[in-house]
């Protein structure tokens, strides 16, 4: 029994196993649907890392996922399930867009201002959920799901406000260029810049053909910061204690309610930050009416699962997830496989990875049962 428990306790091994099985099942689904699995996977990886600009796009698309993933993982460590990441992300985009359109300061001021606005928007959203939970004991899952929809309709409302609405479109005006967080946005498209870049094709591709921006650095920094916060500070210790056993934490003199609010505030802030960075760093630099969620937050849930709620793990899981989504489009384009199959494939892998986190839980359960038997 001990060795089984020990083996089950290795989450990395379990994750790798899940990826392998996930790909296997995806291959079977592809084969049944009549698409050769080999070339399909070749197309997938080629679409992910085949060219410098593809890698760049994977990195760009990983940025929000790492942030929302970290946010969800962080809340999870405090025993909260932040399914409202999506709404907090949307609120972040709304606030960033409003401030970015209304204000036009020099970049030194404007960029932090716009990003701060988005972060605060998400934080407010998250804090509200935490406050409702702490004050009235309302389940955060219910309030945050409802806030998701409130955010979506708030977004559609803001888009239709005459001051922001771009005529003949379903979106707002773009934020002022002073808010852009791309790397050298002006220089790279100037004649001088284009001439210099022509000399280095990979750099030309990465800079000119993609919206490469500083967001990823911020995302990785945030994930590391959160990891440090959880592991190395009193605050993080308290939060983990609340997550492990709320009553015990209370008994030990930890202010549970304050921790719940703070945790949701930080979690929401991370999602809002992701939204703000999307507005400042990516074309079309605006928000548009949403028919459905764009899944930047919901995918964050998957990322957190894959990472086993480890903030550092979220960095890698974010890259993997974004690679699968972005590379998956190539499978559709090259093989002609409908996007539904790609989604099944991604879903299967995520599902199995999520299941891989059940494995250590099973180990815990086995161990506890054994102890229970011994104590009795």
């Amino acid at each position: 029994m001990k060795t089984i428990v020990k083996l089950l306790r290795k989450p990395i091994a379990a994750s790798i196993l899940a990826i392998a099985v996930g790909f296997l099942i995806a291959a079977i689904v592809l084969a049944i649907a009549g698409y050769a699995p080999g070339p399909s996977f070749a197309a997938l990886f080629n679409g992910m890392i085949g060219k410098p600009k593809y890698i760049s796009n994977v990195v760009i698309k990983a940025t929000p996922l790492i942030l929302t993933g970290t946010a969800v993982a962080f809340a999870f460590k405090t025993g909260l399930f932040n399914i409202g990441a999506e709404g907090q992300y949307v609120t972040g985009t709304i606030c960033a867009a409003i401030v970015g359109i209304s204000c036009d300061f020099p970049p030194v001021l404007q960029v932090p201002l716009v990003i701060l606005a988005g972060t605060l928007g998400g934080a407010a959203c998250g804090a509200l959920v935490g406050w409702l939970k702490a004050k009235f004991g309302i389940n955060e899952v219910i309030t945050s799901i409802m806030l998701n929809w409130i955010s979506l309709y708030a977004c559609n409302f803001v888009v239709n406000v005459p001051a922001f609405h771009q005529p003949e479109s379903t979106s707002t005006y773009a934020v002022n260029p002073s808010s852009y967080t791309m790397i050298l946005p002006k220089w790279k498209l100037s004649e001088e810049g284009l001439a210099t870049l022509k000399g280095t094709p990979w750099l030309y591709e990465v800079l000119v053909k993609t919206d490469v921006n500083v967001g990823i650095l911020i995302a990785v920094a945030c994930a590391i910061l959160i990891a440090v916060l959880l592991k190395r500070t009193k605050m993080g210790y308290e939060m983990r204690a609340v997550g492990l056993n709320r009553e015990a934490a209370q008994f030990a003199g930890i202010n549970v309610n304050r921790n719940i609010v703070t945790c949701m505030l930080i979690s929401g802030a991370l999602c809002g930050l992701a939204g703000a960075l999307a507005v400042t760093g990516l074309e079309p630099h605006n928000i548009s009416t949403l028919a459905a969620f764009e899944n930047n937050g919901f995918n964050g849930l998957s990322v957190a699962f894959i990472a086993g709620s480890s903030p550092i793990g979220c960095i890698f899981a974010g890259f993997l997830f974004s690679g699968l989504i972005y590379g998956g489009q190539s499978v559709q384009q090259v093989m002609g496989a409908p996007s539904d199959i790609i989604n099944i494939m991604i879903g299967t892998i995520v599902f199995l990875m999520a299941l891989s986190q059940v494995v250590p839980m099973v180990a815990d359960w086995l161990e506890r049962r054994e102890k229970g038997v011994a104590n009795a």
């Binding site: 000119v208 919206d211 079309p284 384009q333 090259v334 996007s339």
Partner: protein, 307 residues
């Protein structure tokens, strides 16, 4: 071809476009492929991927993609680009804008609606106001006015906008209100929001008029006709011309009855045959230019004055 966020099975222009390309594949052996955009920020990267796939011609579907397509055309001068539902003010040598004179089929369905209504009250539900939806709105109203003049009736049009192309619940609420106000036919030009209009017609057991594609299959007993935009046909025509070199980029193309790219479905079980025939006769008049349906408020006012 790169779809907008509606996806390739949107029951609307993305789907029609892909059907057009598939037709090209089976008729001419062209290699065709599509990429679906899930978010607006995907447009640029997806267009870029289509170029990487060594496509000679890349289609962007929908006016939402206008800026992304223009940008992509600028950075890839060797590839031809074309877009559905957008005309560009600044021309680029490798960029073709394709738009439809949607006022023409709207005029026809307006005429049909005015001659079919029993309550003398009909409705229009638009998506979001703008150049494209104005064509439907005013074309429809003009068709109604024409029928009123011809038959000496006084059919009224109630119009309302859903401020959304996707909110089916809102479309349904608006249409239900119209039906309870005494309208018995409602025409929609509201994309996904229009699905709610058709549903409302079904529940109220009244009539609706579809848009873009023949939407009769959504409610066979309620959708009497549809204002068709033959996007598939446009894609085939324009692609063939660009590929053959007879059409150089840098221009905007407008398609209507003359090019056989708009119309109404042949099936007309729910409308009187003489009305249908009269509508077809009108389409001939539009073709030869003796009727010019208005496309916006200004031309509509002029049109009404000229009646």
């Amino acid at each position: 071809m790169v779809t907008d966020t509606g996806g390739v099975s949107d029951q609307s222009f993305n789907q029609s476009s892909w059907e057009g390309l598939q037709q090209l594949e089976s008729d001419k052996g062209w290699e065709v492929s599509y990429i679906e955009s899930k978010q607006e920020s995907d447009y640029a990267t997806n267009l870029d991927k289509a170029v990487d796939d060594e496509a000679n011609l890349v289609w962007g579907i929908g006016f939402n993609m206008a800026d992304a397509v223009a940008h992509s055309a600028q950075t890839n001068p060797d590839v031809q680009f074309a877009i559905i539902d957008n005309a560009y003010d600044e021309s680029q040598s490798n960029l073709t804008g394709v738009t439809f004179r949607a006022q023409e089929p709207s005029f026809l369905v307006g005429y049909i609606a005015a001659r079919t209504t029993k309550t003398n009250k009909i409705g229009f539900v638009g998506g979001i106001t703008g150049v494209v939806i104005d064509q439907f709105d005013y074309g429809y109203r003009a068709g109604v006015d024409y029928a009123n003049k011809e038959a000496g009736t006084s059919v009224e049009v109630q119009g309302q906008y859903a401020d959304s192309f996707s909110d089916a619940a809102k479309g349904k609420a608006i249409a239900s209100k119209m039906f309870s106000d005494g309208c018995d036919i409602v025409f929609h030009a509201a994309g996904g929001a229009g699905a709610g209009v058709i549903e409302a017609a079904k529940e109220a057991n009244q009539y609706a008029i579809g848009v873009d594609r023949d939407q009769n299959y959504l409610a066979p007993d309620n959708v009497i006709t549809s204002a068709l935009k033959r996007v598939d046909k446009a894609i085939i025509e324009v692609s063939t011309q660009i590929e053959a070199g007879t059409l150089k980029g840098g221009s905007n193309i407008e398609l209507g009855f003359k090019e056989d790219c708009v119309g109404i479905p042949e099936k007309h079980d729910l409308i009187a045959d003489d009305v249908y025939q009269a509508a077809l006769a009108l389409s001939e008049k539009i073709k030869d230019g003796s009727i010019v349906p208005p496309m916006n408020k200004d031309s509509y006012d002029k049109y009404v004055a000229s009646l």
